[in-house]
């Protein structure tokens, strides 16, 4: 008697499992829909119970059978993640364009900046050569103008919302807090020093900070440039 019950149970389990099998389901579905067209087959409903676990409930009528190729919607990505966003792309394009200009102008600025530092050797101290001082002023002015353009592109470049700044760019930005004020202060102190020197005076007072401020500014600018160019 017990063996008979076991046999019935086994048969029941077997039938249940067999019914759950997609192969058998597919065969059953094929047998039931002999007269249906292919299109109707696609609209015909409920997918095998096995597939219900794989697809979101709102997709049930279109749920792929286990025999179909997986699609992006099967992977569970949200619509927001897979939707094209042309506005964001345009914003990123503009940002990249402006930062490329920033990079290019920064590199160009480096040339007169180095030349200004080099020309300072003949412009200050005991030297009375006016030509050297004028050259130093001209190079400094050019550096200041190019620096202004470089800064403009960095400051005006749009930043997409929700982006946390990470990596060497943080150091690059931190350096701007040194070379930015330095690029304002250096020419002011330079103008004071130039006047004192032109009047035959020895550079004194706050004007004597022109040299050190300029060196710190140029150093911070160089460090900012290297931080995004060379991996430390």
């Amino acid at each position: 008697m017990a063996i008979e019950r076991a046999a019935i149970c086994t048969l029941a389990v077997s039938l249940f499992v067999t019914a759950m099998s997609p192969v058998v389901c597919a065969q059953q579905s094929g047998a039931n829909q002999n007269s249906s067209t292919g299109q109707q087959n696609q609209q015909t409903p409920p997918p095998p119970p096995q597939n219900k676990q794989e697809t979101p409930p709102n997709n049930l009528p279109n749920a792929p059978s286990s025999s179909s190729k997986p699609s992006l919607s099967d992977l569970g990505f949200g619509a927001e993640e897979t939707k094209p966003d042309p506005k964001r792309q345009a914003l990123l394009d503009r940002r990249t364009h402006m930062l490329k200009m920033h990079q290019r102008m920064g590199l160009i600025t480096t040339i007169p900046m180095v030349a200004t530092v080099v020309s300072s050797l003949g412009a200050g101290g005991r030297s009375t050569d006016r030509t050297s001082r004028d050259l130093h002023v001209a190079l400094g002015a050019l550096t200041g103008d190019l620096y202004g353009i470089t800064a403009y592109y960095a400051l005006r470049a749009p930043k997409p919302p929700g982006i946390e700044t990470k990596g060497p760019i943080r150091f690059h930005k931190a350096m701007a807090w040194i070379h930015g004020p330095g690029m304002i202060l250096t020419p002011i102190l330079g103008a004071l020093a130039f006047d004192q020197k032109s009047n035959g005076e020895k550079v004194h007072g706050i004007a004597s900070a022109h040299g050190p401020v300029a060196i710190i500014t140029a150093g911070a600018f160089g460090a900012a440039l290297l931080s995004v160019s060379v991996k430390f």
Binding site: A6, P70, L91, G167
Partner: protein
Amino acid sequence: MNVMIRNSIFFTLLIHVAAFGAADRQWVLEQSTLTYHVSHPLHQTEGVSRAARGKGACHEGQCDFLIAVPVESFHSGDSNRDLHMVQVTRGAEFPMVQVRTQLPETLAGSETIHADLEIQFAGQTAHYKQVLFQMTTQGNRVHISGTIPATLTEFKIDPPTLLTMPVKNDVPIRVEMIWRSQ
């Protein structure tokens, strides 16, 4: 009588097992690490994503796989570079990288596989033939690793430049995946 019933049980179980054996198998991507490598004269950079999702559906001895990963999920440790990567790969317009492949189900126990890959990325589709992957099976889990020899030109991506120097065209993508069968 008992012998008949026993035979019946045995036969039923046999049918049951056979039905199960013939059933379509599904694979789900459980874990993954995808790493792209970019070479520049001044830099060697890697961007890593662990956000890939994948599924494989087997039918009549063939398994169709789809793996997808959001472009923005790759992080290199530099937010500026990552934003530039998304821009240059048109990642806002084409936010997903999709990889499709078809493999015979019989490969399940192999140590290596050569897969033909179709990759949709940056609005382009590229095909890679016979990409070698190493495979380790543990129970119902399969660990797959390999490198996809991707290049920028195949996806019509302008090579980004740093200090006017462009990055190399080769951008190999290291793949580490753990698949689970269902």
